[in-house]
Amino acid sequence: MKKNYAMTLLFLLGFLASIPLYAQQTIKGKVTSQEDGMPLPGVSIVVQGSSKGTVSDLDGNYSISVPGSESVLVYSFIGYETQRKIAGNTTEINIQLAEDVSQLGEVVVTALGITRDERSIGYATQEVKGENLTYTKEQNVLGSLSGKIAGVQVTGSSGASMGGTQKIKIRGVNSISGGGEPLMVVDGTPISNSNFSGSSGQDYGNLGQDINPEDIETINVLKGPAASALYGIRGQYGVIMITTKKGKKGSDVKVELNSAVFVDNVSNLMPYQNLYGGGSSQTWRTLPNGDKYVDMSVDESWGPKTDGTLVRQVMSFYPQDPTYGQLTPFVAYPDNIKDYYETGTNVNNGVTITGGGASSNFRVSLNDTRIQGVEPNTSLKRNNVGVSLGVDLTKKLRLSTNVNYAANQGRRPGQGSEDGSRYLGQWFQRSMDMKRLKDYKYDDGTFLNWNLRRPSTSTGEVTNFNPLYWANPYFLANENFSDDNRDRFFGDVGLSYQISSELKVSAFVRSDMYTQNINSRASFGGTGNPGYSVGKYQNTEMNYELLAQYNKVWNKFSLDANVGGNIYDRDYSYLSMATVGGLSSPGFYNINASIDRPVTSSYQQNKQIKSAYAMVSLGYNNTYFLDASLRNDNSSTLPVDNNSYWYPSLSTSVVFSEWIKSDVMTLGKLRLSYAQAGSDLSPYSTTSFFNVGSTYTGSSTVNTLSVPDNLNNPNIKPSFAHSYEAGVDFKFYEGRVGLSFTYYNQRNENQILNLDISGTSGYGSATINAGEIVNRGLEIALTATPFRSDNFNWDMSFNISRNRNEVVELYPGIDVYQYGSTTYSSTSSYLNSYVGKPFGSLVGQAYQRDEATGKILLGSNNLPLYTDATHDFGTVLPDFNGGFQNVLNYKNFQLAAMIDFQAGGQFFSRSKMLAVRTGLDPLSAAINDKGMNVRDPLADGGGVKVEGISAETGEDVTAYVDAKAYYGVVARRIYEDWLYDASYIRLREVSLSYNFNKSQFANLPVENVKVALVGRNLGMLFQNAPKGINPAELSTGSQAIGWYESGQLPSVRSFGFNLNVTF
């Protein structure tokens, strides 16, 4: 291996050294940019019809010998319009090249930040402009990618989470373990996109959101190994390349102000029934004195009719309450859950200053975001500072730096069925007045709770005011909150030296560092012990990088060669502590307040990767291109004697429109590629160790140790992805219509899995190389300008992708990989992957059915029978994903709308299941086919109609069953009924903006003013899932796959006003 590596590079060196340099003099000149007059280096100058050519140097100067005055010189440069000049008799030709507007997007940013002509690229690329991401001010900018790039699936989270997790999957699930998020790279600096959330609780979101959306110039997604092979062991799951805005040399100082104010409201709440109130039976409970009372020990709504009967409600048992001892009417509060939510606000202010001198350029940006959430006592404050500088120290030596700082301070709502106020839609009384609960504390400090033990059967008084199952939601919001903050720096310092017009060498130091703090408190007066926990998590990732770039054009050939190396060094550590056994005094939130020995842990981790890489791109006649790249990675996390691996790629593109001259087809390109990329594993997974167990402090202190549940593997290898891709790109009518097709096949083998094994082996899982998962798919992207005139422009883009996934192989003797499980009321469901099926089958309890007829089997009590939790309901992966964007410009007005959609996929909704089980959902109080409520007595024609076959007799049965008993089985044991199609069409963004003419404020020192009205997350145009459940916001914290919904935060709709002023 070692030898090959050296040989390849030697070959490359020889190749570079052997390129002859042509230089004879006849015509000299200087090439500059028409835009800003700056010299353009690297412009290709060719004598048409001959093999002679040269490129301009650093100062734009060139010199070329020509055979005669008839000769035509062709000046071409990526991104600029090609010019032709007859040599004539002059000895000096100075040329100004104009930017080629029709070719916008033809220069693309590829791996390692190398910009390339789109023609030469042998794989699919798609770019999103920054302005497409910023105008809706989404808190987590990655969410704005949804629907904008073919093959990229974004699963979001509710706006109520304020920057909650946005999961990105590129071209399907490429890891049997479900993980595999793309690498994020900002201006060449890899940044962490990790996540501190669990699958419930606060959703702190993925860390990639620390980039200021206002700073983004473009986002390029490298969708698979063909594009990302140069990232080697980090490139298996694709790369999101972000390029930030920069100042331009020689431009005036420009100041841009941006202010936006948004108003957020919950939308799409679940429907609730309002005919019956709290309780478990329609029979009233009575106090010793005969007064009826609402059963406050029940967190369900199977109680009596909300008919205004005078009763003692829970508040009336508090001696401190003004209604103490009083009877009040028992009525429903249809909006009680809606009443809990507040109107949120999002205020965003930003300033950017850009400019440049003769040999320098700069850009400085400041941004301040303040969000008040829709859940009480939730907020997020974020500040961003960005500085980018470039200075030409000499003509050849350039110093550049990008520094980004982000500070976040959050207090976020919990999510998940048991967390914070999320129980309201699942375990609650329809007869509870939320407005009464808001004032959750009496003057004497007693907390008002709605869910208590019943009053004494002898005295009729409540003696225990501690909450039974659920605390007052306002208590939870205001006393049991969690605070998080994060300081983040990332950026780079680089030096580049232009040795000659063809050769440039650059060196970078890149860094990404953050400190994340999370503190959580549980107050006295809640359902559990009071407690406090703190966590401090620190991460520093350094990348040291060296890159030599060589560009050369001669005759009809072009060469683009890059050789480089990288050292990656990551240090991660944390300290976390939590009190045990309660707190010593109310209001004292500190680890020192722990009653018993607190739980503490300190952790540190170091990882290094050493890499070398080379890439060569050869072009002929601007028509045929061949790319090859090779990367070698040595990862410290792999076994010491076997940690070096190679990742090659090969791609080709053929611009066939060069053969077929056509007025209609401006560009036609065919591309093919093959590549390998990989991924390694976390540190310390190859050696064995012991866990520190709990300490037993009896007569003496005994410290314990235990064998971990996962078996590490000293022989692990990296996982490899093999990807084939073929595609064709068209541009018609001067680029007014663009169409792109891509087919890909990515085979991921030797997966690194923590495979669940039989626990009887002594381990619950083992780290192994095994398995193979394949994704095949088709991506179509269409851009068009259906209408273009002086006053009116209509641009649209549409993309759709289809992905097919199969788990080809697991481990010998093991047929299933369990991604996750969720258990409630002793009923579990799983997300499993089976050999021969797509990733991610939802597995759970189904109806038992008669094999012949498919009818439901009923037990002796006419209740449906159910299978054990092994029924495979099929994959959760969608069939299609895509988006549709329209931009209409009329004079100074612009109307833009964005729709994203998904077809297929499915998920399990625990919120819906519980709402039915607990009598909150209208289904639990529906009218049956006899016109009676299902809750009415069976004798009166009530009950849920059940049709099926008796399991005992085999005879058809039609019967009516008590609603509570029926849903006690169906909405608790039979998950089949609570699975929903995840298809949707969502109106994600609409904005209407107006751009003032400069003439309209001629007297003011203002360059440009733009105002916009913006709506974000406006609603679903279509969904199959029931109202109140959002299939596009299935993120459950850091879980890599969204497959069930449990206490999902409500969707949030935002409207806002955006003002942008440039001076």
Partner: protein, 465 residues
């Protein structure tokens, strides 16, 4: 070009090596070596888990569920045994596998190994009595075997007798450190080993009385527990890190368990003083009222005797193998003729057993003689087996799985109910993931024992009627 070559060569030198610091992949956050007694101590921490579970209490019908009654209606759902293997058993096996590396500074290595073997035998015995055939000979081998075969219960009993004999015969003078259970007292460990063997032998009374009798006599001969001070008890602490399961439940406001009518009917009519320990009087009228096991409608916890304060204290102990059990076993063995003495010995041991139980539970024994003279309680040769079994069941309160095993063997108490028509189960169902992770061996075990499909109602080997 020269410059370029130099630069590239430099780049190669920078990155072209795959050498890292030697210890870069050694986890600095956890130990890579473990002391034998610390692993054993961790295995001891799991002992309370053999008893502290509502499911066990439902199997023996000690407690009735007040809140989520369905859980007590014997649903046909699986129960995992993985925690036993991944937890205590793997820790113990690691000690047994590294015999040559154990440190004598923590007590004689022979004794460390003996304690590990005794605990291993106890955990495996517990597992096989609950599920039937379980993996043993192939189990706990990590990377060497991801799919262990299931051993028959018969062969497991044979292996465990051998394991216990090995353990007790290897014990040498000298105590071991980090012993949460007996504080290093090897005499107590030796007696525990013999007691386990004796109780296991009694389990064979129906399926193989000859073998049972032989092993029983050998165990008694070798020396079993002689007082409550030798009991295998897990002592919880008044410390949330090592607290009683039932305390943590009650502490969350979960008054989900009441004394069952099944138990109440065996205690209240005879004025059993242990009742005041087992339960609290109801809050409505101060009476001891049992809740019918499996009752589903409208349960008002105010009206029933909930778990007693002594049971739900934060540091309440868990009784696992006790002197009273030894005496009940000897009484039964005498009655069966396995040991000498006949009814006289049986009566003597029976009376001693009840007395030991009263002392263990801290019951008020001031009127013990009167209690013992009642016709239902006083030893009666005509129904001695029933009396012994019933009193043993009362004694085994809160150790549901053991009470259930003895019920399956003896058929007593005679008042167990079948909630919703569901009889008391005969075993527990294997964890479902075995069907996927260990398919062939799972199928073979189910085929061998139950003819292809398993449920709660397949008999384990020793449960022949």
């Amino acid at each position: 070009m020269q410059k370029l070559n130099i630069l590239i060569v430099t780049a190669l030198l920078l990155v072209g090596c795959n050498n890292f610091d030697e210890d870069i992949n050694i986890n600095p956050n956890v130990p890579s070596q473990a002391s034998g007694t610390q692993l054993i101590a961790n295995a001891m921490l799991s002992l309370s888990g053999l008893s502290s579970s509502p499911q066990g209490e439902f199997m023996s019908q000690y407690l009735s569920e007040t809140q989520y009654v369905n859980a007590s209606l014997y649903p046909q759902s699986s129960t995992s045994f993985y925690w036993l293997y991944q937890g205590p058993l793997m820790n113990l096996q690691t000690v047994l596998n590294s015999a040559d590396k154990l440190s004598g500074t923590e007590g004689p290595v022979a004794n460390q190994l003996a304690v590990a073997k005794i605990l291993k035998a106890y955990y495996v015995w517990h597992a096989t009595d609950r599920w039937g055939d379980v993996p043993m000979s192939d189990a706990l081998r990590g990377a060497d075997n991801f799919t262990p075969k299931y051993d028959t219960q018969e062969s497991i009993y044979t292996s465990l007798f051998t394991l216990l004999d090995e353990a007790s015969s290897a014990i040498v003078p000298g105590s071991v450190s980090n012993d949460i259970i007996y504080n290093g007292d090897m005499t107590k460990w030796s007696k525990l080993a013999n007691t386990l063997k004796m109780l296991m032998a009694l389990r064979l009374s129906e399926v193989n009385p000859n073998l049972g009798k032989e092993k029983f006599a050998a165990a008694v001969q070798a020396g079993v527990m002689t007082s409550n001070s030798g009991n295998l008890i897990f002592k919880h602490l008044a410390d949330a890190n090592n607290q009683n399961y039932w305390f943590s439940q009650l502490n969350q406001g979960r008054e989900w368990w009441a004394i069952s009518s099944t138990l109440m009917d065996k205690m209240k009519p005879v004025g059993d003083p242990r009742l005041m320990v087992y339960g609290n009087a109801n809050r409505t009228d101060g009476e001891y009222t049992g809740l019918v096991f499996g009752e589903t409608v409208n349960i008002d916890t105010e009206k029933y005797a909930l778990l007693g304060d002594a049971i739900t204290a934060q540091d309440a102990p868990v009784y696992l193998v006790t002197y009273a059990q030894v005496l009940f076993a000897q009484a039964e063995a005498a009655k069966l003729g396995w040991i000498a003495g006949g009814d006289a010995t049986a009566e003597e041991k029976y009376n001693m057993a009840i007395s030991a139980s009263m002392n263990q539970w801290g019951a008020d024994t001031s009127e013990l003689d009167e209690f013992m003279m009642q016709p239902e309680i006083a030893y009666n040769p005509a129904k001695a087996i029933e009396q012994i079994a019933t009193q043993r069941w009362v004694h085994l309160f809160m150790h549901g799985y053991e009470g259930w095993a003895e019920y399956r063997r003896t058929g007593y108490p005679n008042n167990m109910v079948a909630p919703g028509g569901a009889e008391v189960p005969k075993r527990q169902i294997y964890i479902e993931t075995e069907q996927f992770n260990n398919t062939a061996n799972y199928n073979e075990a189910v085929q061998r024992q139950f003819g292809g499909s398993e449920s709660l109602y397949g008999n384990v080997w020793w449960d022949v009627n």
